[in-house]
C-alpha cells in the first residue's frame, strides 16, 4: 500500500466513525417511537414479524403509522399508496438539499443506497454539517438509526411490557428535543436563520390551529410551511457565495 493510498483509507475510516457517532442519539431516539409502532401492530392482530417487515422496508415514522392504520381499516391499495406518498413528499426537498452537499462524482449505486436512509433525523444532522458529505459519513450516520428503528419495532412487537407507559411517553419528546439542539445554535449566530425558523413555526401553527387551513393533510402542511418560509428567506436575505 502506498502512503497516499493509506491516507485515503484512513480518512474514509474516520468519516465512517464520525458518522456512526452522530447516529447514536438518533438510534436511541428511534427506539421508543418504533417500539410504539411494533406494539400497535401486534395489538391490531398482526404477527410480530409483520411490523418488523414494515420497519425494514419503509424506515419512516409518520408514513408507517398512517399506512398501518389504513391496512387495519381495510382501505384500498390506491388509497394507501396515495396517502403514504403525500406524507413522504417532504423527502424530495430533503433529498434535493442533500444532492447539493454530496460530491458530484459519487456513483449512482452509492446515491441509491444513501437515499434509503434519508429520514427527518438523518437529514437534520447531516444538513448541519459544514463540509461536503461523503459516502462513508452518511453510511455511518444511517447504520445506527436503521438498527434502532428495527430493534425498537421488534421490542414493541415481542416484549411490549419492557417500556412502561410513563417512560414511553416521556421519551416521545426526545427527537423533538434533538431537532431543537440542532437548530438553536445555528440561529443564535444568524438573524436570517432565526427569521426563517420563526416564519416556518408560525406557518406550521397556522396550518394546525386555524379553521379551513387545518384541513390541509399533515404531509402538505410541512411542505407548505417549508416552501413559503425558505422561499421568503431566499428572496429577502439571499446568501452570498462563501458567506455561509
Amino acid at each position: 500500500m502506498t502512503e497516499v493510498h493509506k491516507n485515503k483509507t484512513k480518512k474514509r475510516n474516520n468519516e465512517f466513525k464520525t458518522g456512526c457517532k452522530k447516529g447514536i442519539p438518533i438510534c436511541l431516539g428511534y427506539i421508543p417511537v418504533s417500539f410504539t409502532f411494533g406494539l400497535m401492530a401486534v395489538q391490531g392482530g398482526f404477527p410480530p414479524w409483520f411490523p418488523i417487515f414494515i420497519s425494514i422496508t419503509n424506515l419512516t415514522s409518520a408514513g408507517q403509522f398512517a399506512g398501518l392504520q389504513l391496512i387495519l381499516q381495510n382501505s384500498t391499495l390506491v388509497e394507501i399508496g396515495i396517502t403514504t406518498f403525500i406524507i413522504n413528499i417532504r423527502y424530495m426537498l430533503m433529498s434535493l438539499s442533500l444532492s447539493q452537499k454530496i460530491s458530484p462524482t459519487m456513483s449512482f449505486l452509492k446515491r441509491a443506497l444513501i437515499s434509503y436512509g434519508i429520514t427527518d433525523e438523518t437529514f437534520a444532522v447531516s444538513s448541519m454539517e459544514k463540509e461536503e458529505l461523503s459516502f462513508g459519513y452518511l453510511g455511518g450516520l444511517m447504520i445506527g438509526p436503521i438498527f434502532g428503528w428495527t430493534l425498537g419495532t421488534s421490542l414493541g412487537a415481542f416484549a411490549s411490557s419492557l417500556l412502561s407507559d410513563r417512560i414511553q411517553s416521556a421519551m416521545g419528546i426526545a427527537l423533538y428535543a434533538m431537532f431543537i439542539a440542532l437548530v438553536i445554535p445555528a440561529s443564535k449566530y444568524s438573524k436570517k436563520i432565526t427569521a426563517v425558523l420563526f416564519l416556518s413555526v408560525f406557518l406550521s401553527c397556522l396550518c394546525t390551529w386555524t379553521p379551513v387551513l387545518n384541513k390541509i393533510p399533515s404531509g402538505w402542511k410541512l411542505i407548505v410551511a417549508t416552501l413559503v418560509s425558505a422561499g421568503i428567506g431566499a428572496t429577502l436575505f439571499p446568501i452570498e457565495e462563501g458567506q455561509k
Binding site: P47, T57, M94, S97, Q100, S127, S169, V196, L197
Partner: protein
C-alpha cells in the same frame, strides 16, 4: 390477518417512500447555479425543522403541560450549546418528572 393484499400494501408503501428520497439525489448531479435556489436550499433545513418541531412537540407526550416544560428546557440547554444527548436527556427527564405528578 396477513393476506397478499397486506403484503402488497407494505411493498407499495415502501416504494412511495423510497421514490421521493431517491429521485433528486440520484438524478440531480449538477451543482445548482441560481443564487435564489442556492439560498432557498440553504434555508430549507431550518424551515423543515421549524415546522417539524412546532406545534408537534406539544403533543409528543401524554400531557401538553409537561411537553411545554420539556420544550423550554430543550431551548434553554440548546441555547447554552449543550450536546445533543444532554438536551434530549434533559427534556425527557423534565417530562418524566412532570408527568409523574400530573398524569393519573
Amino acid at each position: 390477518m396477513i393476506t397478499i393484499k397486506t403484503i402488497l400494501a407494505v411493498l407499495i408503501m415502501a416504494i412511495v417512500t423510497y421514490i421521493p428520497r431517491a429521485l433528486p439525489l440520484t438524478f440531480f448531479r449538477k451543482k445548482i447555479e441560481s443564487p435564489w435556489i442556492r439560498s432557498f436550499l440553504y434555508y430549507v433545513p431550518y424551515a423543515v425543522l421549524g415546522a417539524m418541531i412546532f406545534p408537534a412537540i406539544l403533543y409528543s407526550t401524554q400531557s401538553t403541560v409537561a411537553a411545554t416544560l420539556g420544550l423550554f428546557i430543550a431551548i434553554l440547554l440548546a441555547f447554552l450549546e449543550k450536546n445533543l444527548v444532554v438536551v434530549a436527556m434533559g427534556s425527557i427527564f423534565v417530562v418524566y418528572l412532570c408527568e409523574f405528578f400530573l398524569v393519573r
